[in-house]
C-alpha cells in the first residue's frame, strides 16, 4: 500500500519535472530564436540597403538635371544612415569592421554636403563627379561581397548566434563563414582608404590639431607634479603617481593621480608634455551641501582662471547640477567671442573649491595670432537675414567653427520665437545662416510629479 503511494508520488514527481524541463527548454529556444531573428533581420536589411545604395549612386551618376540630383543625393544619404544603423545591431563589435562603417559614414557625409548646397549655383565639380564614380564602384564591390555572405547564410542555414558565441569565446580562428565573409568585406574596404573624396570632404577627419599650436619646452615628471600641485591643491600626505601616455595617444601627456587616504581626496589630471598645460582634471569628493550661490561660485571660477594665467575670458554659460556649479568660459577678443576657445570649470557649492576643469577644446584651438576677418555686413543687414518671427534680445559678434570646419566671423543673435529661445549665427561676411541652435529649457523632473 505505502509502496504504491510512494511509487505514485515519485512517478508524478518525475512526470512533473519532465514537463517543467520541457517547458523551460521550449522557452529557451523561443528566446534564442527571437534573438536570432533580430540578428537575421538586421543582416538582411543591411544587404538590402547596400543594394539600394549602389543603385541609387548609379542613378545619381546618370542624372543630368540638377533639380533631381539633390533629392537623389539626399536618398543616398538616408540609405547610408540606415545601413549604418543596421551594422550597429549586428554582433560584430569584436570583429574589426570599422573600415566598412567609416566608409558608409564617408559616403553619407559626401552626399549630404553636396545635396544641401545650391546645385543651381554651384554644380558638382569634375572632381566630385569622379568621387561619385569611385563610390559607385566601391559600393558595388561591398554589395557583391555581402551578397555572397547572404547567399551562404541562406544556403547553409547559418546562425548569427553561433557567430556571437565564436566571437565571445575568442575562437575567431575557427572556420565560420559569416565571420570570414565579413572579414573579406572589411579587407575590400581597407583598400579604399586613400580614395580621394575631394575638397568638400576634408571635414570628416575632425579638425584635430593635437595641441600643435602650443609652444614651449618639454617638461619633466617633477615639473608636472608641481603644476598639478598648483592646480589641485593637495598636501604632502597625498599619494602621487605619474605615468606617461601610452603609444596609442596622438599627443604626449603625463597622467597624475592623487590619493589622500586621510581626507578622502581623489584626483587625476592630464598635463601636456609640451609646455605643461593641464588638459583636464577632476578633484573628486562628495558635495552634499550648498553654502554658496551660483554667482559666488562664478566669481571663484573666474578668480581661479585668472590666477592660472588664462586671459580675456568671458562667462557664456552657467548651470547648477545638484550642489555643483558648471561654468563655461570663452575667449573674448576685441569684443568678439571666440567660441572654439572654450574652458569649463566645475565648482563645489559647499566651499567653493574647483573640482573639475577641462581645457581640451581651448588647447586645440588656442591661437594667439588669430586673424579675424573684418565684417562686410552691418549688424542691421545681418539682422535682416534672420527669420522675421524671431525677436532679437541680445546681439554680438562671435567666431564659430562652421559645418566645413572653418572658423568664421558671425553675428550672434539671441532671442525668442514664441515660447522658445534660440541662438542664431549669421556669417558677417556673406550673410549665410551658419547655425541655429535651440536653447534648452529645464527638463521636468518626472518622479516629483507623482
Amino acid at each position: 500500500m505505502i509502496r504504491g503511494i510512494i511509487i505514485g508520488v515519485l512517478a508524478l514527481g518525475v512526470a512533473g519535472t519532465a514537463y517543467w524541463g520541457y517547458q523551460e527548454h521550449r522557452e529557451k529556444n523561443a528566446i534564442l530564436l527571437n534573438a536570432e531573428n533580430n540578428y537575421q533581420r538586421a543582416f538582411h536589411d543591411l544587404t538590402y540597403q547596400m543594394d539600394l545604395l549602389h543603385d541609387k549612386i548609379g542613378t545619381t551618376l546618370a542624372m543630368n538635371s540638377r533639380h533631381s540630383l539633390s533629392p537623389s543625393l539626399v536618398e543616398v544619404w538616408r540609405l547610408t544612415s540606415e545601413a549604418h544603423s543596421d551594422v550597429g545591431q549586428l554582433p560584430l563589435t569584436l570583429l574589426p569592421f570599422n573600415k566598412t562603417e567609416e566608409f558608409l559614414a564617408k559616403i553619407g557625409k559626401f552626399s549630404y554636403r553636396t545635396a544641401v548646397r545650391d546645385l543651381e549655383k554651384e554644380p558638382l565639380s569634375e572632381g566630385e563627379y569622379e568621387t561619385l564614380k569611385v563610390l559607385y564602384k566601391q559600393s558595388g564591390d561591398i554589395q557583391n561581397e555581402l551578397r555572397k555572405v547572404q547567399h551562404m547564410v541562406l544556403q547553409n542555414n547559418l546562425r548569427w548566434m553561433d557567430v556571437e558565441l565564436a566571437l565571445a569565446s575568442g575562437k575567431e580562428q575557427t572556420d565560420n563563414t559569416i565571420i570570414d565573409g565579413f572579414k573579406t568585406v572589411e579587407k575590400t574596404v581597407s583598400g579604399y582608404d586613400e580614395s580621394d573624396f575631394g575638397p568638400t570632404f576634408t571635414n570628416l577627419q575632425k579638425k584635430d590639431d593635437n595641441f600643435k599650436k602650443i609652444k614651449g619646452k618639454t617638461i619633466s615628471e617633477k615639473e608636472a607634479i608641481s603644476i598639478a600641485k598648483k592646480y589641485m591643491k593637495f598636501d604632502g600626505n597625498a599619494e602621487v603617481k605619474v605615468t606617461e601616455n601610452g603609444k596609442g595617444s596622438d599627443y604626449g601627456f603625463y597622467s597624475i593621480s592623487i590619493r589622500n587616504k586621510k581626507t578622502g581626496q581623489e584626483g587625476s589630471m592630464d598635463i601636456t608634455k609640451k609646455a605643461g598645460y593641464p588638459i583636464w582634471f577632476i578633484n573628486h569628493r562628495d558635495v552634499t551641501k550648498q553654502n554658496l550661490s551660483l554667482n559666488d561660485a562664478n566669481l571663484k571660477a573666474a578668480a581661479f582662471l585668472k590666477e592660472n594665467g588664462y586671459k580675456n575670458l568671458e562667462l557664456f554659460e552657467s548651470t547648477q547640477y545638484d550642489n555643483t556649479g558648471l561654468f563655461n568660459f570663452v575667449t573674448k577678443e576685441n569684443n568678439i567671442r571666440i567660441y572654439p576657445e572654450a574652458l569649463k570649470v566645475e565648482v563645489a557649492l559647499d566651499n567653493g573649491s574647483i573640482i573639475g576643469f577641462s581645457a581640451e577644446d581651448y588647447l586645440k584651438s588656442f591661437n594667439e595670432a588669430r586673424e579675424i576677418e573684418k565684417p562686410v555686413l552691418t549688424s542691421e543687414q545681418a539682422r535682416a537675414k534672420v527669420n522675421p518671427n524671431f525677436k532679437v534680445m541680445e546681439e554680438r559678434q562671435a567666431v564659430i567653427v562652421n559645418d566645413l570646419n572653418k572658423e568664421v566671423l558671425c553675428y550672434e543673435f539671441l532671442g525668442t520665437i514664441g515660447d522658445d529661445s534660440y541662438r542664431i549665427f549669421i556669417n558677417a561676411v556673406d550673410g549665410v545662416e551658419e547655425e541655429v541652435e535651440k536653447l534648452k529649457n529645464a527638463e521636468e523632473v518626472y518622479d516629483e510629479v507623482i
Binding site: 550597429g88 560584430l92 565571445a168 575567431e172 596609442g248 587625476s268 559666488d296 577641462s358 534680445m393 516629483e448
Partner: protein, 288 residues
Amino acid sequence: MKKKIVTLTIPILISLCIMPFTFLENNRAFAFSNQVIQQGAVGDDVIELQSRLQYLGFYNKKIDGVFGWSTYWALRNFQYEFGLPIDGLAGTETKAKLVKASKYNKQFVKEQINKGNKFTHYGGVDQNKQSAPQSKAPAKAPAKAPSPKPAAPAPKAAPTKPTAANTPGGFSSNDIQLMANAVYGESRGEPYTGQVAVAAVILNRVNSASFPNTVSGVIFEPGAFTAVADGQIWLTPNATAKKAVLDAINGIDPTGEALYYFNPATATSKWIWSRPQIKRIGKHIFCE
C-alpha cells in the same frame, strides 16, 4: 598692555558699526536670501524670483525653480521696464525693486509645488482660480494637508525641491540615466576617474564614424559592453555614476579620446590587445 586693549577694541568697534547695517539688510531683503541669482541657478530663490516676475506679468511659464532662458528674458524685461541696468542678474538692487513692486505668497506657491499642482501666481487674480489640482490628487487635499503644513511657516524648513532640473544640451535626463546605468554596470568598483572614462568612451563612440550615432545605439550594440550582455546594466546606479556621466558630457575626457577599453585580467579577445593603448585607469586599459 595698552596695545592689547586697542587691538581688542577695534574689532569690537567695527562689528558694532556694522551690526545695525546687517540687521537692516536682513530686514529689507527678508524675502530673498542675499545671494545674487544668476542664470542656471536652482532653488528657493529662483522659485520666488519666478513667482514675483509672474505676479507682474513678465514671466508666463511654469514656476519650476530653475533659472532658464524664459526666466532670463523675463528678468531682463523687468530690468528694462524699471530702469535698472539690464544684465540678467538678480542682484541687490533688482531684488529690492522686485520685492517692492510685487507680492509673493510663499505659502501658496510652496503648497502647490509640494502637491504637484498646476498653478500660476499672477497678481490681481483670485488664488483659487490659479491652481488646478493634479488629476491624481484627491479632491479633499486640504484635509490631508496638516502634515506638510506645520513645516511651512518655519522660516528655513525643508526647502521645496524645484520641479525641473538642468540637463546638458543634447541629452535628456533619460539619456543620462541610461548612460549612468551602463557606467555603473561596467565600472562600479573603479575609481571616480575610471567611471568618467567609461562614460567618455560611450560619448567618443557616439561621435565616431565607426559606431552608431546615438547613446542607446552604442550601449546596446551587441557584444559591445559586457554589462549589457550579462544584464548588470539593469542594476540601479548610484549618484556617483550619474555624476561621472555629467562630468563626461560636460567635456572631461580622461581617456585621451579612446574608443575601446578592456580589463586585461578578463579580456578574452586577442584582437583587443592589438589596439594602440593610450593609458590605464584603475583596472581598465583604454585604447584607440
